[in-house]
């Protein structure tokens, strides 16, 4: 029986081999990512074809052949439509948007008072940006200002009637400012209310639990359109004459309650993902219910459902366009109104231009929220990944 020499060590160098073909460089990247298999190649070529085909046309329509200046519809009409552009021309009619830009932003808010809306927007951004940037300190103060003080400042500025500011009634509000007011209130109300409802639904107290379930299931079971319609037109029939609530206020309450019900379910999803051990651990430390929820459970649960929460925010932001049916004009509403009601800008390109403008603004806001949520997810990721 031959013994193996376990301490065998190679004494000569291994023969050097060529470097592996993979490496860096655009060609290698394209080969591995775009043309790895025949199926990949076909799909890549198809996608490339689509881009080559559509992109120039889209850019051309949006920018290169678009009209940029003019005072009325004649600027965007071809010769056979009564204008001056060459026959067969098609392009965006930007002067329509430029001419109506103030209206799209502020609705019928009085011209001389629009600085108040702008000031309000500046304060909003000045408070929001430091709040969202993790490096900047004083988060607690900032949050109190943003959630506690700002609503009152905004109310005073936008509605007026105090400190020499002229009173501006809400039917004059419109455009992007209504969209943002509805979204801000919806977001600021729905998150805390949703947390409370989610805890209520998981509570062991039967009445709290029942009320939470009834609220969530009723509100979720009814279309937002119905809620808004009821709030706007049926409510005045049931309250005594002389008592009237502001229509915007009614819509705000409707939107906020509606979003809260959805938010509650998202957060309940997060609560269910927290292992029982966490609750028991908190109990064994002698923490009370609110301490347990505040220090142990909620921070973990909320972190888990950041995508769901932001999803609800984005949905809420876009749902605000439904206030059009109760004759309140958010951004999409004023754009639509200008398209259908304004004969001075009636051209074949007006509708397309207007809708693209509205879509672009909505996209900027929604994309911003989405990117921030992804950033937060990465930041809060404390390694639950498998």
């Amino acid at each position: 029986m031959q013994e193996h020499d376990l301490s065998w060590v190679r004494t000569e160098m291994a023969v050097a081999q060529a470097a592996p073909r993979s490496g860096a460089g655009p060609v290698v990247w394209a080969r591995t990512n775009l043309f790895a298999t025949p199926a990949d190649t076909i799909m890549s070529l198809f996608a490339l074809l689509l881009v080559v085909w559509f992109l120039p046309q889209i850019l051309n329509w949006l920018f290169f052949s678009a009209v940029w200046s003019g005072t009325d519809r004649l600027a965007c009409l071809t010769v056979d439509q009564g204008g001056e552009l060459p026959p067969g021309w098609s392009g965006a009619c930007w002067p329509f948007v430029l001419n109506r830009f103030g209206y799209f932003m502020f609705g019928r808010y009085p011209m001389d008072e629009r600085w108040r809306v702008i000031l309000c927007g500046v304060i909003f951004v000045a408070l929001l940006v430091p709040l969202l940037t993790p490096r900047i300190p004083f988060k607690r103060l900032n949050a109190i200002l943003f959630f506690g003080v700002f609503p009152f400042v905004a109310f005073l500025l936008l509605v007026g009637g105090y400190f020499g500011l002229e009173y501006v009634e809400t039917p004059l509000w419109g455009g992007l400012m209504v969209t943002l007011v509805l979204s801000y209130v919806g977001i600021v109300v729905s998150l805390p209310l949703g947390i409370v409802l989610a805890m209520g639904r998981r509570s062991k107290m039967p009445i709290v639990k029942l009320l939470s379930v009834i609220f969530i299931e009723t509100v979720r079971g009814v279309p937002l359109v119905t809620v808004l319609f009821m709030a706007a037109f049926m409510l005045p029939l049931f309250v005594p004459p002389g008592v009237s609530f502001d229509k915007l206020l009614r819509a705000l309450i409707g939107v906020a309650l509606f979003a809260s019900a959805y938010m509650a379910e998202v957060i309940r999803g997060g609560l269910q993902a927290i292992p029982k051990g966490q609750y028991e651990g908190a109990d064994s430390l002698g923490l009370g219910y609110w301490q347990k929820m505040g220090f142990i459970v909620m921070p973990q649960a909320l972190k888990l459902v950041v995508p769901g929460i932001v999803n609800t925010f984005i949905g809420l932001f876009k749902d605000t366009t439904l206030v059009l049916i109760i004759s309140m004009f958010d951004l999409l509403g004023v754009v639509k109104q200008s398209i259908s009601g304004d004969p001075t800008w009636a051209t074949p390109q007006t509708a397309k231009t207007g809708y693209i403008f509205a879509a672009a603004i909505f996209w900027v806001f929604c994309f911003g929220m989405s990117r921030y949520s992804q950033y937060m997810e990465r930041r809060l990721d404390t390694g639950h990944r498998k």
């Binding site: 009325d72 519809r73 056979d80 439509q81 009564g82 001419n99 109506r100 103030g102 209206y103 502020f106 609705g107 019928r108 808010y109 009085p110 011209m111 039917p171 004059l172 419109g174 319609f229 706007a232 037109f233 049926m234 005045p236 029939l237 049931f238 005594p240 004459p241 049916i325 109760i326 004759s327 004009f329 509403g333 639509k336 109104q337 200008s338 398209i339 259908s340 009601g341 304004d342 004969p343 001075t344 009636a346 051209t347 074949p348 007006t350 509708a351």
Partner: protein, 342 residues
């Protein structure tokens, strides 16, 4: 389903009308200091905010005229944009004082919905527009047999269309759309041979066509759509004011009184004009209405006469360029006939 809901709302509205709508709208209006007027959210020529957010249009100007009659100031009016669904509820609940929203005067609205119509500010009717590239040589709706017709769903327009083709024993192929804009776009893209909606709407739609010269509005009118302002039933004083504001607009046009010459006309020798403008000695025409005696002067100063309102908003002074047609004064072969103010 929508109709059922609307009907239920109307019934619900009626049930509580008496408790909500005050019996004396004029006093309410004077107390709050403005007229609340319900208008279309956006209909070319009839009501839409301009780039400064000011409401403009024929329906809008009528409300300004009423405000001028009541307050002597055509700016003392606030507008509520209303959709077709919520317009009657808004009037019944007292949210608005006048509904001036291209609303067709029909018996069921007058009776079952409890409205009173103050007159017809625009005689409209459903018409056809054809794409002469697709069906050349058509110059009458009776030649439309077999045509594909774009129409908006759930409107009286759709029902009128069916009735018309059935009555004339013609075949047609309806292409139905939920939204007005969709129907426009589909027609412009050549999905249909013809397009049907109210004639005033056809002119507005034509402005948005890629090649407007290819589209011809046919002469036939297949339905009667008398559009006018309405108020709640049961308040005759307010109803009178709305009604006579309308007649004042017509009578001033007939007498040749315009925004520009109204002050001059006050010195006219013509007894009719003097009576109309309330400059006759011891006249009680205005005060009997519950207004001041110079109410007609105020109206004309604020908005001009009916002809001026028409031309400015939908006629030659606007991109719509609708001709007066049956909306001309009765002296010029139209239907607009102002009851005598004396």
């Amino acid at each position: 389903m929508k109709k059922i809901i609307t009907g239920m709302l109307a019934v619900a509205a009626l049930g509580v009308t008496s408790s909500v709508a005050s019996a004396d709208t004029l006093d309410d209006v004077k107390a709050k200091g403005f007229v609340q007027c319900g208008v279309n959210t956006g209909l070319a020529g009839f009501s839409a905010p301009d780039d400064k957010g000011e409401w403009t249009g024929l329906d809008v100007d009528f409300c300004r005229a009423v405000a001028a009659a009541v307050f002597g100031d055509g700016t003392k009016v606030k507008f509520t944009g209303l959709s077709a669904k919520d317009r009657f509820t808004a009037l019944q609940s007292g949210e608005i004082d006048i509904l001036s929203r291209n609303t067709t005067w029909t018996i069921s609205r007058d009776t079952a919905l409890g409205l009173n119509f103050g007159g017809v500010t625009y005689y409209d009717g459903q018409g056809f527009m054809i794409n002469s590239k697709k069906i050349p040589g058509v110059n009458s709706a009776l030649q439309l047999s077999g045509a594909a017709v774009c129409v908006q769903a759930g409107t009286t327009t759709e029902l009128n269309l069916a009735d018309y083709f059935k009555a004339n024993k013609m075949e047609y192929n309806p292409v139905v759309f939920e939204k007005f804009e969709e129907a426009n776009a589909a027609y412009d893209a050549g999905r249909c041979d013809a397009y049907t909606t109210d004639q005033s709407g056809l002119y507005a739609v034509r402005l948005q066509m890629a090649s407007p010269d290819d589209h011809v509005v046919l002469p036939e009118i297949i339905s009667k759509e008398p559009l006018g302002p309405s108020v709640r039933q049961g308040d005759d004083k307010w109803f009178d004011i709305v009604k006579w504001t309308y007649y004042a607009l017509l009578n001033t046009e007939e007498a040749g009184i315009t925004q520009a010459n109204v002050d001059e006309m006050k010195n006219s020798e013509n007894p009719d004009i003097r009576r109309l403008l309330g400059v006759e000695a011891e006249t009680k025409i205005g005060t009997d209405l519950g207004l001041s005696n110079d109410w007609v002067v105020n109206i004309v100063k604020a908005t001009g006469n009916y002809g001026e309102i028409f031309e400015r908003n939908v006629g030659s002074g606007s991109p719509l360029k609708i001709s007066r047609g049956i909306n001309a004064l009765w002296t010029k072969g139209g239907l607009q006939y102002g009851m005598p103010i004396r």
